[in-house]
Every structure is written in structure tokens, then in C-alpha cells.
Amino acid sequence: MELLLAITIGVLVSTSVYLMLDRNVLRFLFGLVLLSNAVNLLIFTGGRLTAGAPPLIDAGEYAPTGVVANALPQALVLTAIVIGFGLLAFTLALVYRTYMTLGTVNSDEMRVAEPADESKLDTGRLGMGKANPAKPATGQEAGI
């Protein structure tokens, strides 16, 4: 069983690396999703696989009776899934917003912050203070 899971993790990681080598940031994001799933499986396998009951303690008892599964990796994976879900949702929104603003998802074409001709750079339009408001930002407001 460990071997099967190890192979699955390997396949997932290699697929995700392939996806992450793409210039399309959306594909990169899909690669990240796969990679985080691979890592969750890795933690799960790292906690050893046991054919045990769910780690629940019966009423009136203070310790589980019989063989139960290792609860810690489950807790870790659950936390990692929740955090991963939040991060990926945020990133998806960011990619979408970037596409709407910059008109591209190709990372090679994203040269606004680091233009080849540095004199074209004009950062920090924001935050010029309350007293003398900055000239309006050309990008849309991110509602994040």
C-alpha cells in the first residue's frame, strides 16, 4: 500500500512540475494545486498506514480501545488542506484580477513592475497621503 501511495505521490509531483514549467500562470496554479495534494498524501503516508478504526474514544472511556488510525497526520493534513484552499482561492482571484488588468496570463509578458526600460517604471502611485491625493491609479481597484 505504501508503494502504491509513493508511486501516486511521484506521479502527482512530476505532473505538477510539468505544469509549473508553463509560462501560463493559470497552469502554474493548477500545478500548485496538484503539488499541494501530493504533499498532503505524503504527510498522510509519513504517518504510517494502519488498518484501524477512526481515532474516536467511546463514551466513558479515557483511551481508545483496539487499533485506531494515527490521528496526528489526519489533523495535519486537514489543516494543510484548509490553509491550501484559502491560499489557492486567493491566488485564483489574484490571477483573474491580473488578467483583467494586464490582459495576459503569460508570465513572460508580465513586465510592468520590472520593465526592460526602467525609466518607464512609475510605482507607488498609491499612498501619497491624505493631504494631497495621488493621481488616480490606472489599474482597477482590487476589491481584495
Binding site: A80, L102, E118, L126
Partner: protein, 499 residues
């Protein structure tokens, strides 16, 4: 006693909650200020306790280590929390003038406080998975702060920052999973003991390198730093400053913690990699800075170069080297945040951060020019400022090991640092403004002038203080380095038993 460790985390958390609920009124920003002052007081109380006891630990929910979550502060953790609070307070005061109301209404102050929660949590936790969670808290808030406002540059830089940091996070998580599979524990003190019984040392070294890559991305080490110069110059200056001061240092802190407490069984291999990475990091950072023509982009590249010095101190792995790393860490947070603040004021009164488009700051704002020179010289390592002692200790440690080449590179990089500082001086401060503007501080409204200059003056004073009276700070760094190299005290305090 255990509550002293909780306050620095819970105070910014509750402040963030209140600041968010009051985000539509001016009360929000003053809550943020008050909360950060409280954080500073709590962190000083914690530091006093740590100085007295050596190591302070607390078990959350009364679950004994290694089963529960442990919060622990040793000298390094304690001082980092104090510095976080100082930088946080400086930033919050600076934002009073800089951040427009429409960004406050999007929850700016809540994000800032949550960032501090994550940073402080990362410094105080004694559990590896908990460290991952704090990293995530820090990361999510930093994502938010970086793209809040949503200009084209911010989104462009944000994408690169977010993507590369996510990869590093997943790498970190994979390392945690493998380490847990190998040792069966995630408590850092317990791991210190557990890794000694591991038979498969090859796998342990592999895991060590995974952690090195994960934290290397966070710390912006060569060749993993590309997200930093792509993004740090895009958000508002206050955000740049707190990022530059704190975020990469959390990566360095994690490197120091992991590679002294847990991965010290194959020093010849892991620390040699760190050594050469540190050297290349120093050089690439400073060369990148020399090629830039924007105030904030120069400073961004300098962060990378300075990270090299800190990692170098760790890689040398002698008491003197670690002492230098600790001293450098503290000094650099103050100085770098301050330089970004200066860049922000320069932008505010002279109109740009592009060095070709500004000038005249020396003639019309001599106070600002003077306050620029203090952190700039400190960064380059001029005596008697704090940077001199930091560089001196690291270079001395390299010389003691007879690593002439490494020491030579460290000194040469210092020289190039002066070059780019001179470049800033020579185009932003010295010549007249190309558009004929007279950038005067007195043109700013009084409130803005105070809010912008107060953090700069305070941080510059701190730099001078460390520089002129280095004795207690050096002694402190030495104590901290000894504690890092011999973590018996740390382990006993956390586990509550003699190992």
C-alpha cells in the same frame, strides 16, 4: 509566566479584529497605533523575563510537550519579537500619513496587524507545524497588503511574489511530512533529540536541504530571490518598509533555528552549501543594486546582499559567526526599514523614486539628507554605526577560520554597498531637481511631517545607540549565539526534563 508568551500574539490579533470592525472610521487607525504600543510593552516584558531566565516556555492548553503546542522564547526569539514590535510601531505611525482612507476602508490596518501576528508567532513557536501555520498567516496578510490598492505594478509584482512563495510553502510542508515520518515528532526541542537516533542519515540530510530551499526562498537567498526585487518596490512605502524589515528576516530566523537546533548532524555538508550560497547571495545582491536606478529597487537588491551576511554568519557555525548573524539580523531590520521610510519621504516631497527624476533634497531638506546618511552609512558598515560592528564580527569570524576569500568578498561587497549609496546620494540628494522643484519638508502639513519623520528619527537614533554603545548588544549577541550552539537549556525548558 506562560502568559507573557501569549500576549505578543494575542494583542495584535485582537487589535486586528478591532481595527477591521472600525475600518470605516478614523478610530481604526488609532486602535492600530494603540495596539502596537501595547505589543511593544508586552514584548519588552517578555524580553525582561527571557534575559532573567534564559529560556521561557509555555504549553498551550496544558498539553505537555511534545504532544501539545509549545510557545518558547530564547534570547534570539525574544529580541526578534521586540524588534518586530519596534518596526511595527514605526510602520503604523508612518501609515498615519501615508495610507489613504480608501485603503484603510479595505482593511489595511487589520492586515498589518495580522502580519505582525504571523511574524511574532513564527518567532515564538516551538513546534514545526505551528511554524508552518504562522508562516501562512504571515503570507496571507502579506499577499493582501502587497496587492491592496490594485495598481498594475502591484498585481504584476504580486503574482510573482505569491506564486514563488507558495512553492516554498509547499516545499516546507513536504519537509515537515518527511521529518515526521522519520522521527515521529514535530516539537522542535524533541526533534533535537530525535534526529540523533535516526539511522537513515542520508534521508535526514535530504530533508535538511528541502528546508534550506524552503526557507531560502523566504529569506531571498541566491538563486531563489527573484520574487523580491520583482515585488518589493510596488506597494505603498510603509508596506515596503515592513516587508523589507521583517519578512525575509523570518526566513533567516527559521534557517538559523533549524540549522542550529535540528540539522546539525552533517555540518560539513549542509553548512558548506549555506556558506557558498551566502557568498553568491552577497555578490549578486550588491551587483543587482548597482545596476538599478530606482531608490526602492536599489534598496530591494540590498536586502538580498545583506541576507548573505546573515547566512554567512550561520554557515561559519562558530560562536563568533552566529553572534555576528544575530547582531546583523537585529541591526539590519532597523536600518533597512528606515531607508525605505526615507525613500518614501523623498518620493513624497520630490515626486518620484526614480533617481533620474528627483534631486535637490540636500539643499532643501537637509534634515532628511542627514537622516538618510545614518542608515546608509550603517548599511555600508561605517564606524561607529551599528552596521560596522555587525560586519566586523562576521568578517572576523571568517578570518578566524582562515577563510580569506570569503572575508575578502564580504569586505568587497561592503565597498560596493557604498557605491550604490553614493549613487542615491549623488542623484537624489546632491544635484538640483531636474524639474526645478524645491523639495522642502516644511511644505508638508504639520501632522504629516511628524508622522513621517518620527519613525525615521527614532530608528536612526536606535542605529546610533547600537553603534555608539555596542557593548551590551554584543554581549547579548554572544550569549544568544552560545545558547544557539548549545541548546541544552532550550530543550530542558521545553520538555521539562533533563535530556
Amino acid at each position: 509566566m506562560s502568559w507573557l508568551l501569549v500576549y505578543p500574539i494575542i494583542i495584535p490579533l485582537l487589535t486586528g479584529v478591532l481595527a477591521y470592525l472600525f475600518r470605516n472610521s478614523p478610530a481604526g487607525r488609532w486602535i492600530s497605533v494603540a495596539g502596537t504600543v501595547a505589543l511593544l510593552m508586552a514584548s519588552i516584558m517578555l524580553m525582561a523575563e527571557v534575559l532573567e531566565q534564559g529560556v521561557v516556555a509555555a504549553q498551550m492548553s496544558n498539553w505537555q510537550a511534545p504532544f501539545g503546542i509549545t510557545l518558547v522564547a530564547d534570547l534570539l526569539g525574544g529580541v526578534m519579537v521586540v524588534i518586530t514590535a519596534i518596526t511595527g510601531l514605526a510602520t503604523v505611525i508612518y501609515t498615519l500619513s501615508e495610507i489613504p482612507e480608501r485603503m484603510e476602508r479595505l482593511g489595511f490596518h487589520a492586515l498589518l496587524q495580522m502580519l505582525m501576528v504571523g511574524v511574532v508567532g513564527a518567532f515564538l513557536t516551538g513546534d514545526l507545524f505551528n511554524l508552518y501555520v504562522w508562516f501562512e498567516v504571515m503570507l496571507i496578510s502579506s499577499f493582501g497588503l502587497l496587492v491592496l490598492g490594485g495598481t498594475r505594478e502591484q498585481l504584476d509584482g504580486g503574482i510573482k511574489y505569491v506564486m514563488l512563495n507558495l512553492v516554498s510553502t509547499i516545499m516546507f510542508l513536504a519537509g515537515i511530512g518527511l521529518l515526521y515520518g522519520l522521527t515521529g515528532t514535530l516539537n522542535m526541542a524533541d526533534l533535537h533529540l530525535a534526529v540523533r537516533g535516526v539511522e537513515n542519515t542520508g534521508l535526514l540530510t535530504t530533508i535538511a536541504v528541502m528546508f534550506m530551499v524552503a526557507f531560502g526562498v523566504k529569506a531571498a537567498m541566491f538563486p531563489l530571490f527573484f520574487w523580491l526585487p520583482a515585488s518589493y518596490h510596488t506597494p505603498p512605502v510603509a508596506v515596503s518598509a515592513i516587508f523589507a524589515g521583517l519578512l525575509t528576516k523570518v526566513g533567516v530566523y527559521a534557517l538559523i533555528r533549524m540549522f542550529t537546533l535540528i540539522f546539525d548532524q552533517d555540518v560539513a555538508f549542509t553548512h558548506t552549501i549555506l556558506l557558498w550560497l551566502a557568498v553568491v547571495t552577497m555578490v549578486t545582491g550588491v551587483l543587482g543594486a548597482a545596476a538599478m536606478n530606482d531608490f526602492r529597487r536599489i534598496l530591494s537588491f540590498h536586502i538580498i546582499s545583506q541576507i548573505g551576511y546573515m547566512v554567512l554568519g550561520l554557515a561559519l557555525y562558530t560562536p563568533l559567526g552566529l553572534m555576528g548573524a544575530v547582531f546583523y539580523l537585529v541591526h539590519h531590520i532597523i536600518v533597512k526599514a528606515n531607508l525605505f521610510f526615507v525613500a518614501g519621504v523623498a518620493k513624497r516631497i520630490a515626486g518620484s523614486t526614480d533617481l533620474a527624476r528627483i534631486g535637490g533634497l540636500y539643499a532643501h531638506a537637509p534634515l532628511l539628507a542627514f537622516l538618510f546618511l545614518i542608515p546608509a552609512f550603517s548599511l555600508a558598515g561605517f564606524p561607529p554605526l551599528s552596521g560596522f560592528w555587525a560586519k566586523y564580527v562576521v568578517v572576523k569570524a571568517a578570518l578566524d577560520l582562515e577563510m580569506w576569500f570569503v572575508a575578502g568578498v564580504a569586505l568587497g561587497v561592503g565597498l560596493l554597498t557604498i557605491f550604490s549609496m553614493t549613487k542615491i546620494w549623488g542623484s537624489a540628494f546632491w544635484p538640483a531637481h531636474p524639474d526645478g522643484i524645491k523639495p522642502r519638508l516644511s511644505d508638508l502639513p504639520t501632522f504629516d511631517r511628524v508622522a513621517l519623520m518620527l519613525p525615521i528619527v527614532a530608528l536612526a537614533a536606535l542605529t546610533c545607540l547600537i553603534g555608539l554603545f555596542p557593548e551590551p548588544f554584543v554581549q547579548f549577541a554572544e550569549r544568544s549565539a552560545n545558547q544557539l550552539l548549545d541548546p541544552t537549556d532550550y530543550v530542558t525548558t521545553v520538555l521539562g526534563v533533563q535530556p
